[in-house]
């Protein structure tokens, strides 16, 4: 098995609980969220495919049923933070990333393909 490569983004303390920031990672805009609850870090694409703008890190996070979601600040659709699926429009899926906090630093990595 190949070792996963992690990239440092910022200090965990730079994040505000229950809100998002945008990170530049491998030339891609990634929305990073730190949430209350057990599973707390999420990373999805920052591009809202419906509003067609880089804004998802600026949405409100919360839950719909069991799913942790962010709501687009433009037209309020919900995107699942874990899977990237859009709850309102089935064909609008976001790319997701692996994220972790390692010794106080937030790190991102591409999802393993396959």
């Amino acid at each position: 098995m190949v070792n996963k490569t992690w990239f440092d983004i910022c200090a965990e303390q730079d994040l505000t609980l229950d809100s998002g920031v945008c990170a530049l990672f491998d030339d891609e805009q990634v929305a990073i969220f730190k949430c209350s609850g057990d599973e707390d870090l999420f990373a999805i694409s920052n591009f809202d495919p419906i509003g067609e703008a880089n804004v998802l890190s600026r949405g409100i996070v919360g839950s719909i049923g069991e799913k942790r979601v962010v709501s687009s600040p433009l037209f309020k659709q919900h995107f699942c933070l874990k899977t990237g699926e859009c709850l309102e429009e089935a064909d609008m899926n976001l790319k997701t990333y692996d994220i972790r906090s390692h010794q106080g630093t937030i790190q991102l990595s591409h999802k393993a393909v396959g």
Binding site: I9, C10, D14, T16, L17, D18, S19, V21, C22, A23, L24, Q29, I32, C35, S36, G37, F47, G51, E52, A53, N54, V55, R58, G59, I60, V61, G62, S63, I64, G65, R68, V69, S71, P73, L74, F75, K76
Partner: protein, 851 residues
């Protein structure tokens, strides 16, 4: 346009016999189709008044007047050239001569006849049934007679335990009589309910103190010993009473048809075809007198459909009556009862689910097809919440969920149970009284109807029996949500409270953070609905900076970045310009800032200036310059006070009687920053010419010779509403006191995203009540309200000033947390010498060039 003119002699004479609910509806439909004035419309009513709402007849006992019930007026008929005769009955028809005669001796001709004679109450042929205090329950005159009898009666009996019988019983109870119901069948509402439902209904009604006698056949009515009459039953028992109301079913009023030999049903009723034509092609029959495929429909909705079909037919259009559904939902004697489709489970091979809750007195039965896929019938007693969706499943043959029983089981997981309205096809009929489909309601919403009131006006949905109201609301909410419009509802899946309730909890329990509120009163992790709502309530009461880290995650992006997000993710900047007054120096600063950051500049509809196209990282830089020049935030992003518009007033204007600009500025500075359920707009005009349009604002002030007139609860926007005059000729101190109280009372009691106009419309007691609370202090809270406002005014700070002074807060304004780059997706082009976001086409061209 080439107006078609028809000679009076050439016009077809359409004569409507009977001006009840259906006859009237027919006339309405024909008037609508009669723009070329091709018909002469004539109607006769045996009753002394034009059509009224028989369905709501019982409300006559609870305060409605004959006028409230009326469906039209003589003036309206006259205006539409409808020729009417009251208190006269058509007694014969000569089909060969095409004439008719009335009781009072009129003989006239017709081209087309419409029989809308309705039905009459069936009175069983019991000896003694025609005495003075024996009544029926069908007309306003009947109700007057019942009221008169009740005045010297102690006990009353209703013969018949069907739907109308129970309504009559309720009326007797309202008239303070000791009320009994005598029914021939073994249970109540035998037509609509199965045994389980009927039994529960009986228990519930008995608990209200009514006495029910089932399986009783009355043999005769004789003088009583303790009461006026004695009813003797076939089983040897008897009952004494002072008055009797017969409600043992209806019979079609078909005398006339019989007299002129139209084809009749075996047990009465005028036979009609799918076009509502009788056996004579010049005669139609509609409503309760018509027999279609062997059925009489005793409900108003099918009658209305017939009226529509007959009118279309006469006007030369195609339309067909294809039967109607007889499902019903009612509140009888305070008990919710509903029956859908095959309530008795008579369909071959059908199966049932029954849910019975003795504790809460609820009975529900679901009758489904042999295959388990289709819903055939439903009985609901005690709780009818799911009537709408269930009816739609049945009518549209929607496939049942895997566990059909979930449709009647209590909703333990809060998921709402049943099917959502989104599953319904657009053709699904939502309101059967007015034949309004889901699609029609949807288009009304698209055309700007935002709430039930608007929908009622536009489509007539829910203005008949009202049974569809809950469903109409769901369709509207669903549609609004799908259009991305914020629905004015109570809160969301995370809190089972309305905004007002949450506000009370927060105020009374002094809750200071969202997470505390979620732990004590909610579940899940919140969402974009409850978070900003709670954020706004917290701000209304405790007025802490909204970007304090506890509150930050609660705010919409507009509030987080203290600016309005635009379509491309950039923001607009609106500094406050109180009263619209601005110095040349400040104007120049705005110009300079706009130039430096290359911002699109526009005068807004609110007397100030909007700068568009700022990127997130530029916001603090822009605001630093504006604040240094003495500007402060304009709160264009918040649910807060927007602007106080002013006219130039007495300072310059030759008509002005007070300093409207000065007052507007004082008011804007007092209430700036106030967070509220929805945005607030105000205006001050210097005289009655009203150049500031104060009467279209939440708070409007108009100068008078003696002081100020205060108007409240107006707005423009999607549903404009003129403000109501609240107080006249008050001095400035009183003005401020009233506004303080008014605003805090609104903050306390309004729903999420409810403008003051809608809030007032929903306030019990309306404007008068509001005046009592605010002017007379009827609740004794004015002191509190004023103190709350004073504390808010005292703790005001400009959010932008506080932000640019705080390193920690400024960090948020970088597009990337780990790089200084800008968002490469933001692309502008130039138009009329300013920039604007590139369109999709322009964007792809520009990117093509770049690549």
């Amino acid at each position: 346009m080439n107006q078609q003119i028809v000679n009076k002699q050439d016009r077809k004479r359409v004569v409507v016999i009977g001006n009840g609910m259906v006859g009237h509806r027919f006339i309405e439909n024909l008037v609508d189709a009669n723009d070329a004035n091709q018909y002469e419309i004539v109607t006769f009513s045996e009753e002394p008044r034009l059509a009224y709402d028989r369905v709501q007849l019982s409300s006559y006992f609870t305060g409605s007047t004959a006028e409230d019930l009326s469906l039209t007026s003589e003036a309206n008929y006259t205006a539409n050239n409808v020729n009417y005769t009251l208190s006269d009955k058509v007694v014969s028809i000569d089909r060969t001569a095409k004439t008719y005669c009335t009781e009072k001796g009129l003989t006239e001709s017709y081209d087309v006849l419409v029989l809308a004679t309705g039905s009459f109450p069936f009175v069983p042929p019991i000896p003694g049934n025609d005495q003075q205090h024996c009544h029926v329950y069908r007309t306003i005159d009947d109700l007057d007679a019942i009221t008169a009898s009740a005045q010297d009666s102690k006990t009353g009996v209703v013969v018949g335990g069907g739907l109308l019988g129970l309504e009559a019983a309720n009326a007797l109870k309202e008239l303070q009589l000791d009320t009994h119901i005598v029914e021939f069948a073994p249970r109540l509402m035998a037509v609509q309910l199965d045994e389980g439902g009927g039994n529960l209904l009986r228990r519930k009604i008995e608990r209200l103190g009514l006495t029910i006698h089932t399986e009783k056949a009355t043999e005769n009515i004789q003088p009583g010993e303790n009461h006026r009459y004695r009813m003797n039953f076939a089983d040897g028992s008897h009952l004494e009473t002072d008055m009797i109301v017969f409600s043992a079913g209806i019979r079609p009023q078909d005398e006339l048809a019989k007299q002129c030999d139209l084809t009749m049903g075996e047990r009465g009723g005028i036979v009609v075809d799918n076009q509502c034509k009788t056996s004579d092609p010049n005669i139609y029959a509609v409503g309760e007198c018509a027999l279609w495929e062997g059925r009489i429909y005793g409900l108003v909705a099918p009658g209305y459909q017939m009226a529509k079909v007959a009118a279309a037919q006469i006007a030369g259009h195609q339309d067909e009556f294809t039967g109607a559904d007889m499902s019903t939902k009612l509140k009888l004697l305070g008990v919710d009862v509903a029956s859908i489709g095959d309530a008795h489970g008579q369909t071959e091979g059908c199966q049932s689910f029954i849910y019975q809750d003795d504790l809460n007195q609820i009975y529900k039965r679901l009758i489904i097809s042999k295959s388990g896929k289709k819903l055939l019938g439903v009985v609901l007693v005690g709780e009818t919440e799911n009537y709408g969706p269930l009816l739609q499943i049945m009518l549209n043959g929607i496939k049942l969920p895997n566990k059909p029983e979930s449709l009647i089981l209590p909703d333990s997981d809060g998921s709402g149970g049943g099917i959502g309205v989104e599953a319904l096809p657009d053709a699904a009929q939502i309101c059967s009284c007015y034949d309004v489909s889901k699609g029609q309601i949807g288009s009304a919403v698209e055309n700007g109807c935002m709430n039930l009131g608007d929908i009622k006006t536009a489509t007539e949905a829910s203005t008949g029996c009202g049974g569809c109201a809950a469903l109409v609301k769901q369709v509207v909410d669903n549609k609004l949500a799908s259009l991305g419009i914020e629905v004015n509802n109570d809160i969301c899946e995370h809190f089972a409270y309305s905004r007002q309730e949450l506000a009370d909890i927060i105020r009374v329990k002094e809750v200071k953070t969202f997470s505390d509120l979620l732990t004590s009163h909610g579940k899940g992790f919140g969402c974009e609905i409850c978070k900003p709502a709670v954020g706004s309530i917290l701000a209304s009461y405790w007025n802490e900076h909204i970007l304090k880290s506890d509150h930050l995650p609660l705010q919409d992006t507009n509030d987080v970045f203290l600016a309005n997000m635009q379509k491309d993710g950039t923001y607009s900047v609106i500094p406050r310009i109180p009263g619209g007054e601005i110095t040349p120096e400040k104007l120049i600063v705005i110009g300079e800032v706009a130039k430096e950051f290359s911002l699109y500049t526009k005068i807004t509809g609110g007397q100030r200036i909007d700068l568009f196209g700022a990127q997130m990282h530029e916001l603090p830089l822009i605001w630093k310059k504006l604040i240094d020049a003495g500007f402060e935030t304009g709160h264009a992003y918040g649910k807060a006070l927007r602007t106080v518009k002013s006219c130039v007033g007495s300072t310059w204007c030759r008509f002005g009687v007070q300093d409207s600009v000065g007052e507007a500025i004082r008011i804007e500075e007092r209430y700036r920053g106030l967070r509220s359920p929805h945005k607030l707009k105000m205006a001050v005009s210097g005289c009655t010419r009203e150049c500031a349009e104060a009467q279209s604002k939440d708070v409007g002030i108009i100068a008078t010779e003696k002081g100020w007139n205060l108007f409240v609860c107006g707005n423009g926007g999607m549903r404009p509403r003129h403000a109501d005059l609240f107080a006249t000729d008050i001095d400035t101190a009183t003005l401020i006191r009233y506004i303080d109280r008014f605003l805090m009372f609104y903050v306390r009691t309004a729903d999420r995203l409810q403008r003051t106009s809608v809030w007032l419309e929903n306030l019990d007691g309306g404007l008068e009540y509001l005046k009592q609370v605010i002017i007379e202090d009827s609740l004794g809270i004015c002191g509190e309200l004023e103190a709350e406002m004073t504390s808010l005014v005292d703790t005001y700070e400009c959010e932008w000033k506080a932000t640019i002074e705080d390193e920690q807060k400024l960090k948020r304004f970088n597009h990337f947390i780990n790089a200084d780059n800008k968002d490469s997706n933001v692309i502008f082009v130039s138009e009329r010498d300013q920039k604007r976001p590139a369109t999709k086409d322009e964007r792809s061209k520009l990117e093509g060039v770049a690549n």
